[in-house]
C-alpha cells in the first residue's frame, strides 16, 4: 500500500516539474508597479527613466514573415521593425525612408529609386537594391507567396502578373537592381499612388543571405529576423505579444524618441479597459457601450479607418436577383441610427462605398466629388418592394448571412428590425462561423450578407476592382460596362479622366445595379494617456507608426 502511494506521489511530482518548466512567463514587467515607467506623478527623475509605451492588440500576432502574412496586427508590428522605400508621415503622406528620392519617367511608367547612404540591417549588413528585388520577387513567387497579397505587386509591376500565376519567369519581371543604391521598376500602367504602395509591408526589403540561411525558421523568433526599421524585436510570442526596442542601426535612430514599446495581446475588451485604468496600458479602444461614459473624459479621442461595412447582394440569389427587391433593401434602413445609436464610436453612416476622406482628384475627396449615392427612404423602398414582388409573383423569404462576430451580429439585428419596421417583412438572420459563412459566400449559397472591406491604399480602385472579378463572393456580378470602366481606369494616364471613370463605376455599382448597399465607414473611439503623444494610426495600409511617438 505504501508503495502505491509513493509511486502516485512520484507521478504527481513529475507532472508538477514538467509544468513548472513549461510556464514561460514573459517576465517583462520590468517597470513593476510603475506603469509604463513614466508615471505622470514622479517629475525630475523622468529624464533618466526609460521611455516606454504599453499598447495592446485585440488578437494574436500571427505571422511576421512578409511573404505569408496577411493580418493587420502582423502588419502593425512589421511596419515598425522594418521599413520600405517610403514611409507615411503624420499626414499620411509618403516621405522618403530607405530611399533618398525617386525619379519618375515622363510617361509615368519607370521609377528610379536612389537608396539612402549608410543604411544597414541590424546585423551590420548594408541594405542594397538587391534586397528589394529579392523581397519583391519572393512576394510574387507562387512558391513562396502564401498570404494572398501578391497582387499588390503583381498588379502594377510589369511581368509581375505572369510571374505570380506561375507562367512567367523571374527574369521577365521589370525590377532591376542596377547597383547597390539604385532600384529601377517599370509599371504596367501609370499609377499615381505607387509611392504610397511602397510604404506597404510587402514592398519592404529582405536580406537574401539571412532569409535563405534561416529557411523554415525565418521570422519565428526575434533572433531569426533582421531589422531595417526604427525598432527591433527583443521578445515575441504570438499569443502574449512582443517587445520592441530602438534599433541602433536605423538610419534615423536619432529621431526615434521612445525607447521601448510593449505590445500585449488582449482579446477581451473589458480586460483591456481594466488594464488601462490600472495603468498597465497607455491606450485602449472603447466599445460602443462604454463610449457615452467616457465621451467627456479628456483622454477620449476618435479616429477613422478606410474601411466600409456594407451589404453584399447575390445577384443570382433567390429573391435578390430582382433589381427592385435589391433597391428596396438598399433604401429601407436608416444608417444614421447605426452611426448615432448602435456604434456611437466615431463611425459614420455610409452613403457610398468609398469612405469619406479617401482621395479623389485635385485635392477633393472622392466622396465630395460623387455626393451621396444611397440615402434612406422608406416610402421609395416600399414602392420598389411592391414592384419587385409583382415581378417575382410572390414576396421572397429573405435570409441575411452573418458571420458570428459581435459587430456583424449587431448589424444583423439592426437590419432585421429596420426591415420589419419599414417594409413589414421578416428577415431571418443566419449566423454562421466565419469559415462556414465564407464557404457559403464562395459557393454563392446566400441571398445577401454583411461584410466589409478595408483599403490597402489611398485610392478608390482598392475597392472598385473587387467587383470586376465576377466571383460569387462579390455577388456574381457581371457587367461588361463596369469591367470596361475598371480596365480603362487602370490604363488611364490623365488623373481627372481616371477619377471620372471610377466615379461612374461606383454609381453603376450602387445606384444603378444595386450590387451592394453601404452601411457605415469605420471609426474608432479610444482613450489614450495624455503623456503619450504622436502615435500615428493610418487609415489604410500599414496601420500604425511608433517612430514619431513621444512620451512626456
Amino acid at each position: 500500500m505504501k508503495k502505491k502511494w509513493s509511486t502516485s506521489l512520484l507521478c504527481l511530482l513529475m507532472l508538477v516539474s514538467l509544468v513548472a518548466t513549461g510556464c514561460n512567463f514573459s517576465g517583462d514587467k520590468g517597470s513593476g508597479s510603475a506603469p509604463g515607467g513614466t508615471a505622470p506623478a514622479a517629475d525630475g527623475q523622468q529624464a533618466k527613466k526609460e521611455s516606454v509605451i504599453n499598447l495592446s492588440f485585440e488578437n494574436e500576432i500571427k505571422d511576421l514573415n512578409q511573404f505569408s502574412t496577411s493580418d493587420n496586427i502582423s502588419f502593425s508590428v512589421l511596419n515598425n521593425v522594418s521599413e520600405g522605400l517610403y514611409r507615411l508621415d503624420e499626414k499620411h503622406e509618403p516621405q522618403p525612408a530607405l530611399a533618398k528620392g525617386v525619379e519618375v519617367s515622363p510617361d509615368g511608367l519607370t521609377y528610379t529609386f536612389t537608396l539612402r547612404d549608410g543604411i544597414k540591417w541590424s546585423n551590420g549588413d548594408p541594405i542594397t537594391a538587391a534586397d528589394f528585388k529579392f523581397a519583391w520577387l519572393g512576394a510574387m513567387n507562387p512558391q513562396t507567396s502564401k498570404g494572398g497579397y501578391a497582387f499588390i505587386l503583381s498588379d502594377y509591376i510589369k511581368g509581375g502578373a505572369e510571374y505570380a500565376s506561375g507562367k512567367g519567369s523571374a527574369d521577365a519581371v521589370a525590377i532591376d537592381a542596377k547597383d547597390d543604391k539604385t532600384l529601377v521598376v517599370t509599371l504596367n500602367q501609370p499609377t499615381p499612388y505607387f509611392l504610397r504602395l511602397t510604404t506597404f509591408i510587402l514592398y519592404f526589403p529582405l536580406n537574401e543571405k539571412f532569409v535563405t540561411e534561416k529557411g523554415a525558421d525565418y521570422a519565428l523568433k526575434p533572433e531569426n529576423m533582421l531589422y531595417a526599421g526604427p525598432y527591433k524585436l527583443t521578445s515575441f510570442d504570438p499569443a502574449s505579444g512582443a517587445t520592441l526596442v530602438k534599433n541602433e542601426n536605423y538610419w534615423d535612430n536619432a529621431n526615434v524618441k521612445v525607447e521601448k514599446i510593449n505590445l500585449k495581446v488582449i482579446k477581451e475588451q473589458s480586460t483591456a479597459l481594466n488594464a488601462y485604468k490600472a495603468g498597465e496600458l497607455d491606450r485602449v479602444m472603447l466599445s460602443s457601450a462604454d463610449v457615452d461614459t467616457f465621451k467627456n473624459d479628456p483622454e477620449y479621442t476618435t479616429d477613422i479607418e478606410f474601411r466600409t461595412n456594407y451589404i453584399q447582394f447575390n445577384t443570382k440569389g433567390e429573391g435578390t436577383s430582382n433589381l427592385n427587391i435589391r433597391k428596396a433593401l438598399q433604401l429601407a434602413y436608416d444608417a444614421t441610427i447605426l452611426e448615432q445609436v448602435i456604434l456611437n464610436n466615431g463611425s459614420k453612416a455610409a452613403t457610398g462605398m468609398i469612405p469619406v476622406q479617401m482621395s479623389g482628384v485635385d485635392h477633393k475627396s472622392f466622396r465630395d466629388l460623387q455626393g451621396d449615392l444611397i440615402k434612406a427612404d422608406a416610402a421609395k423602398a416600399k414602392e420598389y418592394w411592391e414592384q419587385g414582388v409583382k415581378e417575382l409573383g410572390k414576396a421572397p423569404q429573405l435570409k441575411l448571412l452573418v458571420p458570428d462576430d459581435s459587430l456583424s451580429k449587431d448589424l444583423g439585428t439592426f437590419l432585421q428590425s429596420e426591415y420589419k419596421k419599414n417594409l413589414g417583412i421578416d428577415v431571418t438572420v443566419e449566423t454562421k462561423t466565419v469559415k462556414a459563412r465564407n464557404q457559403q459566400m464562395d459557393e454563392g449559397n446566400y441571398q445577401f450578407g454583411v461584410t466589409g472591406w478595408g483599403a490597402d491604399y489611398d485610392d478608390a480602385m482598392t475597392y472598385l476592382d473587387l467587383w470586376a472579378n465576377h466571383t460569387p463572393y462579390r455577388g456574381n456580378y457581371e457587367n461588361p460596362k463596369y469591367d470596361e470602366l475598371i480596365a480603362s481606369a487602370k490604363k488611364e494616364v490623365d488623373e481627372t479622366k481616371r477619377i471620372n471613370m471610377l466615379l461612374e463605376a461606383e454609381k453603376i455599382l450602387l445606384a444603378e445595379d444595386a450590387v451592394v448597399s453601404p452601411l457605415f465607414y469605420r471609426g474608432n473611439s479610444f482613450l489614450q494617456k495624455p503623456h503619450v503623444k504622436n502615435l500615428i494610426f493610418h487609415p489604410y495600409g500599414s496601420p500604425v507608426e511608433y517612430k514619431y511617438a513621444t512620451v512626456e
Binding site: 500500500m1 513549461g22 500565376s165 506561375g166 482579446k267 463572393y473
Partner: protein, 311 residues
C-alpha cells in the same frame, strides 16, 4: 497487475488511433479553408489552386490522412496554418505551460478546500455548518466563471491593486486565474465528498468502530474518508483533464496565452495541423489520466475487480 497495465496501454494506443482518425475525417468536413478566404478571393483561381497544392490540400482526404499519419509516427506534427511555419509541436509546448500551471493550482486548491468543506458538512450533518458549507459550494458552481473572473479582476486587480489585472509576466499573474478556476472544483468536490461521507457514516463498520471506542476523529480519518474517495476519484479524472487543457474563457479574460484559447481558435480557423496536434495531445493525456484513475480505484478499493468479470 502488470498484465493489466500492459493491456490498458495497448487499448490506449488503439483508442488514440481511433480518436485521431475520427477527428481527422470529421475535421476535414468543416466548412471553409485554413486560409483567409476574403483575402484569397482576390487571387485568380489558378493561384489559389497552387496555394492549396503547396500544402497538399488538393489531394483526396484519405491520401492526406495517410501522409499525416506517416509524419506523426516520425514525430513530425506539421506546421500551423494560422501561425505560418511555426511547428505545431513548439506551439503546443509553449501554450501548455500556462494552462497547466493554472489548472494544477486550481485542482490542488479546489480539492483541498472542497474535501475539507465536504467532510465538515457530512460530519455535522443538518447543522448550520452543513447548510453554510453547502451553500458556499453551490454558489461556486452557480456563478458563471467569467462573471467571477471579471469580479476578481475588477476588485482584486484594479480597485485594490493586490494582483496584476491581466497578461502573463510573472508568477503573480497566475493567481487570479487559478482562483477563478478553482471555485467550480470546490463546489463539485465538496458535494461529492459530502454525499459519500454521509453514506459511509451510515455503514455498520463505522458504528462498530465507534463502539470499539475510537474517537470520532480517528473514525473519520481512518475509515470514512478512505471509503468516500471513490466517486471523488471518478470525478477527479475529467476535472483534471478539463482544467489542465485550459479554459478559453479564463484565458481570454486574463490574457493568458494558454492552450484552451489556442484550441478553440484553431477549430474556428480550420487550422488543421494544430487541431490534430492538440487533439492527439489531449486524447493521449485523457486516456492516460483515466488509466491512473482506474489504478487508483484498485488501490483504494480492492473489492472492485478490474480485469474480466471474475478473476
Amino acid at each position: 497487475m502488470k498484465r493489466y497495465i500492459g493491456m490498458r496501454l495497448v487499448y490506449l494506443l488503439i483508442t488514440l488511433f481511433v480518436i485521431t482518425t475520427a477527428t481527422f475525417f470529421l475535421m476535414k468536413q468543416l466548412p471553409g479553408t485554413p486560409f483567409d478566404e476574403e483575402k484569397l478571393n482576390r487571387l485568380p483561381v489558378e493561384e489559389r489552386q497552387l496555394l492549396y497544392a503547396s500544402y497538399g490540400l488538393d489531394q483526396p482526404v484519405y491520401v492526406q490522412y495517410v501522409r499525416y499519419l506517416a509524419n506523426v509516427v516520425q514525430g513530425d506534427f506539421g506546421t500551423s496554418f494560422t501561425y505560418k511555419n511555426m511547428p505545431v509541436k513548439d506551439i503546443i509546448a509553449n501554450r501548455i505551460g500556462p494552462s497547466a500551471l493554472i489548472g494544477l493550482q486550481a485542482v490542488v486548491l479546489g480539492l483541498s478546500i472542497g474535501l475539507i468543506l465536504g467532510i465538515i458538512a457530512a460530519y455535522r450533518h443538518n447543522s448550520a455548518w452543513d447548510y453554510f458549507t453547502m451553500f458556499i459550494a453551490v454558489l461556486g458552481v452557480s456563478v458563471p466563471n467569467f462573471v467571477l473572473a471579471a469580479l476578481l479582476q475588477y476588485y482584486v486587480g484594479l480597485k485594490w491593486g493586490l494582483l496584476p489585472v491581466a497578461f502573463w509576466d510573472s508568477y503573480e499573474n497566475s493567481i487570479l486565474p487559478s482562483v477563478a478556476l478553482s471555485v467550480g472544483v470546490v463546489a463539485i468536490i465538496a458535494r461529492f465528498a459530502r454525499n459519500e461521507m454521509l453514506e459511509v457514516l451510515q455503514q455498520d463498520y463505522i458504528t462498530t468502530a465507534k463502539a470499539k471506542g475510537l474517537t470520532n476523529m480517528a473514525v473519520v480519518m481512518r475509515h470514512a474518508v478512505r471509503n468516500s474517495l471513490i466517486p471523488v476519484v471518478t470525478i477527479l479524472g475529467p476535472i483534471v483533464v478539463n482544467l489542465l487543457t485550459g479554459s478559453l474563457v479564463i484565458e481570454n479574460i486574463f490574457g493568458v496565452p494558454g492552450i484552451g484559447s489556442l484550441f478553440v481558435d484553431s477549430i474556428k480557423m480550420n487550422d488543421y495541423s494544430t487541431i490534430m496536434g492538440i487533439t492527439i495531445f489531449y486524447s493521449a493525456f485523457y486516456v492516460f489520466i483515466m488509466l491512473i484513475v482506474d489504478m487508483l480505484y484498485s488501490v483504494i478499493d480492492p473489492r472492485i475487480r478490474l480485469a474480466s468479470g471474475g478473476e
